[in-house]
Amino acid sequence: MASPPVFTVGQTLTSAAMNQVGLWLVKSQTVGAGVGSVAITNCFNSDFRNYRVTFEGGTQSGNDLAIQLQFAATTGHYSSMRYDPWTGTAGTLPAVNQVFAYFGLSGMANQATFSMDVYAPNLPEVTKYSGMYTSNGYYGTGGGIYFQTTQLTGFTIIFPGFTNTGGIVKVYGYRN
């Protein structure tokens, strides 16, 4: 079979072909208006070891305000986020053993996006994540660990001190 497989209309999809699908949409969540946080539940399970999470299409009530992630409402989040501006000074924003991680910055004109890989969230081991983002005035990268072995099933995006309207969060599983 050619790789990647090219399907034709009406062709039977074999298990061999379907088992080559590398990324599977697990959950798609539209975000509402005026929210200070959005929890994405039941998106990590035993089907996949690792996941890709994306967020885009939202507008926030302020520019370049730090977004937070929360894998669980406990301490154990260790993170660092680098921010590179179009003009100005670059820097990093760490969080050490907090109940949140910094990841991403806001935009009032639909500039904010992020994409991250989450490793082993539903396994009894430390959860890791890393990714990149855009905002009103910055591009950046970030990553960290949730230093607990809790088997996670979801996560929360928090807009601390501001609100988000719209956008879509998508969670994809990487085939094991």
């Binding site: 969540q29 539209t30 975000v31 509402g32 208006a33 005026g34 929210v35 200070g36 946080s37 959005v38 929890a39 994405i40 539940t41 039941n42 302020g62 520019n63 370049d64 305000l65 730090a66 937070q68 929360q70 409402a73 921010y83 501006p85 003009t87 100005g88 924003l93 969080a95 907090q98 109940v99 949140f100 910094y102 910055l105 009103n136 005035g137 910055y138 928090i158 807009f159 601390p160 001190g161 501001f162 609100t163």
Partner: protein, 39 residues
Amino acid sequence: MTRPLIQIDDEIREMTDEEYENYEALSVFAVSLEQSDPE
């Protein structure tokens, strides 16, 4: 601070007092990197 809404999957509603307390605790760590436009 005006109390924002909370969203859990498709459910969007007002925050309970406890949820707002947790949100405010996280807002203590709010960071702004907004730069003023060059003149």
